[in-house]
Amino acid sequence: MQLEVRNINTFYGLSHILFDVSLDVDQGEVVVLLGRNGAGKTTTMRSIMGLTPPKSGRVIFKGKDVTGLAPFRVARLGMGFVPEDRRIFPDLTVHANLEVGHKGSGGKTNKWNYDRIYGFFPRLDELSNRRGGTLSGGEQQMLTIARTLIGDPDLILLDEPSEGLAPIVVKMLGGFIDTMKREGVTILLSEQNVKFALKHSDRAYIVDNGHIKYQGSVAELEKDEDIKKRYLAV
């Protein structure tokens, strides 16, 4: 397993958000974490990355216990986090945003150099000298993925990437996910857009009220109308 999350309990201040959450992601897989707004998807991602460290439980990445490690150390071990609200550095150009991601996590291998990233996201190439703050929502979503990708992560945590994007951009995003998977990047995706998520994932977990309520293959979940109705309101 590339990522093993074992019984984590996470709190925001005094409120208990995640209850004994466990999940696994194998190398090369695309696994989706589904759930309603406020179910605990983002908190799970943040706990794994170390941004909101769990009070108890373990996060094991590539065989190494990374629980409680500073996020920048987790990143340097090869984990990438793409935040839901994109967080493009508005005063930096598109290219400078990429540079921060490139050298931040080392960027030692050449798997994702600037040429490849710009080839992958041609729109960013056209915009490379523009300030990050001037990009549209879809362009920002591409940049936030590119910025993490150029640090050459083995695992990417993609938090609700389709949120607020036009259908055509969501379709493009799906293409990026498929390509990243083909390139051997492992992806843990969190989504509310069930149809989109299931189309691009291998396995799914459902989180509800901070508990994992379901896990199974995409094919199994697609058949299970009862589960879908109960937790996903579809």
């Binding site: 941004l51 996020p71 990143a75 550095f89 005063d91 540079e99 921060v100 931040g104 080392g106």
Partner: protein
């Protein structure tokens, strides 16, 4: 007031403004990244001035070598003090409310000012100007001290250096990224604590440069830290908290304003910074170059 006198006062004011800019830019830079208004910044500047004094007593005072050596050594020494303060104290309060941060930096003002009193005593001191700056230049028949002209020229050099650092280097990119989203920067693999520590040290380095320049500009005593932190605070409020360009404009407004208005209004000119500050707070609370709170 003749036009010659006005120009003379203007140049004099600009050199005071530039000194103020060097100090205030450190304050605003630290605030931009760390979100803490460091009231002890003035005390660090004062420590720089007294360190320059002590160093000059060890060397042949009044020589160019001793002046340059002090410009080379004192600011890093102040930065080192900053390093200790950041690691031991400041990084504990970044997530706390402003009141607690204010309490910490104000306590530091009291402590550092007393440290200066214990080490250097309360007597005013000054450092002889290096001989090449000791004379004066003729400006419309009036003698303007060469040293003031020198200080006036250091300001733009510092401003240009800061601009190059912030906009043309990777460290500058990291600092500008940390202003917005430190957490995201960390998740991208950047050691944000270190970005913050080095930004704080850079701010203290600037305070140290200001201190060295001040030590030969006028007498230094226990009051200079408080005087400059209040002026600097007015500067960053006018220019916009966190904006270096704003600090430059604000410093020049305050420096020139106080100096030029002293002629007709005497001591009443000291009201000027607060009047401008109040005006800016009413009309544009986020400062001339600042951005409204996000």
């Amino acid at each position: 007031m003749t036009i010659q006198l006005f120009i003379f006062m203007l140049v004099n004011g600009l050199s005071h403004g530039m000194l103020l800019f060097i100090i205030a830019s450190g304050l605003t830079l630290v605030f931009g990244v760390l979100r803490v208004i460091n009231f002890a910044h003035g005390s660090l500047y004062m420590i720089g001035a007294f360190l320059a004094y002590s160093l000059s007593t060890l060397l042949t005072t009044g020589t160019l070598q001793s002046f340059l050596l002090s410009l080379l050594l004192v600011p890093p020494a102040v930065a080192l003090v900053g390093f200790v303060l950041e690691v031991l104290l400041f990084r504990r309060v970044y997530r706390e409310e402003h009141l607690l941060q204010l309490l910490l930096t104000y306590a530091l003002v009291l402590i550092l000012d007393d440290v200066v009193r214990v080490i250097w005593g309360g007597d005013p001191r000054n450092v002889a100007r290096p001989e090449i700056f000791a004379g004066s230049v003729d400006l419309f028949g009036m003698a303007l001290p060469t040293y003031n002209v020198f200080v006036l020229l250091v300001g733009p050099v510092i401003a240009l250096g800061m601009w190059l650092l912030l906009y043309r280097t990777r460290s500058g990119n990291l600092i500008r990224a940390a202003v917005w989203y430190p957490e995201t920067l960390g998740a991208l693999g950047v050691n944000v604590s270190w970005v913050m520590t080095s930004t704080f040290m850079l701010g203290c380095w600037l305070a140290g440069v200001g201190g060295v320049l001040m030590a030969s500009l006028a007498n230094i005593d226990l009051g200079i830290g408080m005087e400059k932190i209040i002026e600097s605070f007015a500067v960053v409020v006018i220019g916009g908290l966190g904006s270096i360009g704003g600090a430059l404009l604000g410093s020049l407004i305050i420096g020139v304003g106080i100096t030029v208005l002293q002629l007709p209004f005497g001591r009443w000119a000291l009201v000027f910074p607060y009047a401008v500050m109040a005006l800016v707070l009413i009309l544009r609370p986020w400062g001339l170059f600042g951005k409204p709170e996000r």
